[in-house]
């Protein structure tokens, strides 16, 4: 029998209320994703497609402000599947009048107490996260070593400072920081961007989490450092067999590291399946958005004329006024006469076109 997945997200919806627009900004709008033990799932999409918000929802970090989360996030700890979002909906009251949302009131204290109760044993220990901007995610007032030690003392049964310190040095070494004992006492400003990123990874891994969420781990660093971070993640994956949810808009990184891919657009998953089916350049039946996204990468195969790229015209979906039909309809170049009406008026389902490969497009379903 196949094991239950480590993480199973079912119909996750994360909305934010905009008072001026009297409507919800539907950042994540019905996401279904699951990650098996030892698997790396890549999540790609343009900015604003809901990748990071999905991750933050899983981590229980959407607390403050008028965020509304519904759905189920099943996470397996010690063999027991647990819903990380249980009862959260009870703390939110939405007042609707004439189809307009008049007010959203949220029992922030209750919400956070509940979230804290559920998450405090899991966040950092079971699910660790690497954030987008390592320099601003590390505390500038304490040394890198102290920050890692703190995480270790908090989440693992270490006996004393000394042992924790040894663990921290071990992990700094593991992520290939030169002279880890020296770097232990460095403040974040004394480290380069790439080193900060590696220190972040060390901190995340030091408590040996069962799931690692890496949010844009290679964005904003130089190409040379980028390839090294990717190398490191690949090595950790093969060495430790760690389960990862890798969020990036850099498709080359995703295609190299992940086993399966979820392509997100406008808060939903539009294509989901094994990496080799989705990101291979020659695979014929693909969602038009994935095709366009792959075509806009400046690589040898895509350049037809010097200096030009194949752009996706238009902008990322406005997640307040979500159209009735397919979310990609306005930018899609594959709409033909026969299905135009369907594309415009009805949203397609996520349909399987081959085992494990599902996509949301009228071209492949009826």
């Amino acid at each position: 029998m196949k094991d239950a997945p480590l993480l199973k997200i079912e119909d996750l919806r994360t909305y934010f209320y905009s008072r001026s627009k009297q409507a919800f900004i539907r950042s994540v709008d019905g996401v279904n994703i699951q990650i098996a033990q030892g698997e790396t799932l890549g999540v790609v999409g343009e900015s604003g497609s809901g990748k990071s918000i999905t991750a933050l929802s899983v981590m229980g970090l959407i607390g403050a402000g008028p965020g509304v989360i519904s759905g189920k996030v099943g996470f397996k700890t010690n063999g027991i599947q647990k819903n990380l979002l249980q009862d959260l909906e009870d703390y939110v009251k939405v007042t609707v009048k004439d189809g307009k949302i008049m007010a959203v009131s949220k029992d922030v204290v209750g919400w956070e107490k509940n979230a804290e109760r559920v998450m405090s044993k899991i966040r950092g220990k079971e699910i660790a996260m690497i954030f987008q901007n390592p320099k601003s995610s590390l505390n500038p007032f304490t040394t890198v070593g102290k920050q890692i030690t703190e995480a270790i003392r908090l989440h693992t049964p270490t006996k004393g400072d000394r042992e924790a310190r040894e663990r921290a040095v071990y992990w700094l070494d593991r992520v290939k920081i030169d002279s880890p004992r020296l770097r232990f006492d460095n403040y974040p400003y004394g480290l380069s961007g790439g080193m900060c990123q590696r220190a972040m990874i060390a901190m995340a891994l030091a408590c040996e989490p069962s799931l690692l969420i890496a949010d844009e781990p290679t964005t904003g660093v130089d190409a040379t450092i980028q390839s090294k971070i990717t190398d490191l993640l690949a090595e950790l994956k093969s060495g430790l067999g760690i389960t990862t949810m890798l969020i990036s808009h850099d498709i080359s990184v995703i295609s190299r590291l992940s086993d399966s891919v979820a392509v997100m657009y406008g808060g939903t998953v539009v294509e989901y399946g094994p990496t080799k089916d989705i990101l291979a350049p020659d695979f014929a039946s693909k969602h038009p958005y994935t095709v366009a996204l792959l075509a806009s990468i400046p690589s040898k195969e895509n350049i037809r004329e010097k200096g030009y790229l194949q752009a996706i015209e238009g902008d990322v979906l406005d997640t307040v006024n979500i159209p009735a039909g397919c979310r990609f309809y306005a930018r899609c170049n594959k709409v033909t006469g026969a299905i135009r009406e369907k594309c415009e008026q009805r949203e397609p389902d996520l349909r399987a076109i081959s085992p494990g490969h599902r996509l949301r497009c009228w071209l492949y379903s009826d």
């Binding site: 343009e46 900015s47 604003g48 290939k176 030169d178 380069s192 961007g193 790439g194 080193m195 904003g220 130089d222 190409a223 040379t224 450092i225 980028q226 390839s227 090294k228 990717t230 190398d231 690949a234 090595e235 093969s238 808009h249 850099d250 498709i251 080359s252 990184v253 295609s255 190299r256 590291l257 366009a292 996204l293 806009s296 990468i297 400046p298 690589s299 350049i303 010097k306 200096g307 030009y308 790229l309 194949q310 752009a311 996706i312 015209e313 902008d315 990322v316």
Partner: protein, 336 residues
Amino acid sequence: MPKTILEVIDLKKHFFQRNGIFSPLKERERSIPAVDGVSFYLKENETMGLVGESGCGKTTIGRTILRLTPATSGKVLFDGRDILAMPPEELRQLRGQMQMIFQDLDAALNPKMRIREILKEAITVHHKVSDAEVDRRTAELLEQVNLKKSKLSNFPHELSGGEKRRVGVARVLSVGARFIVADEPTSALDVSIQAQVVNLLRDLQKQLGLSYLFISHDLRVVELISHKVAVMYLGKVVEMGLAGRIANAARHPYTHILWSSLVEKQSRESSVTPANPRTGRWGVFDFERPVAGCRFAPRCPVYESKGKPSECTDPATEPRLRDPGDGQYVACHFPL
């Protein structure tokens, strides 16, 4: 034969680090050579790509050429006239022709002005124009950068990344720029939007005959958009030549490492074998402890494999940028 629009001769920019208020009394301040003797030229209708890791002096070159930062020494000839030695009044008249697209448009666009006002300010800053003329120019600019008219009454924060970029380009065009320093114009944009911006820049070049100095650390984009590419390392140009040759037939070990570090070129299988020898080590360079001789030697695989030859580390024989005969300049004792 297109004429040369910009010529940079031995440009230097050293920053000085002062240690406390008494430091001028001490023997000497520490000087950090952010740009250390860079020469190149740019023709009309041409794009020169400038690549290198962060901190190598790319942006400083861009700013110094436009005299936004005073240079330490050297010459910058724009249409044959030295910008660095120009009296301010004369420079002001040239300003319209040479412009910069800044890296961070959230900081470069005034958050309290509407797009209409931002463009109006740019149009009227160098010339006195009537309101009707301003409207006409604004409409023309919007057309050129392919921006919707409805966005004029928006504030910058209401625009998406790509749209902000377009406003930045429109503003530069409004003053009649012929030479544009584009500093990381596509960083922090999604690939789809990046493609739009790259196409826009390319279209404008064709229509208006613009010249670009395209600063970026995204090698793929630079390779695509530039005619020539200069590779910088620690304030020096280490290799310069045609874009295709730099990308595919690099002579300098550093250029080779840069391009082979592109993730897409490595296969999935090779990812498991650690320490790919071509990608070098995790060196982080340090301006404060300059290396004698070739600056790249400590990270250089050729230096290592040749058994650390002494000419690489001898300060008297620091490699100079030279042309081995085919127009691809390289500063290395042992070009690949």
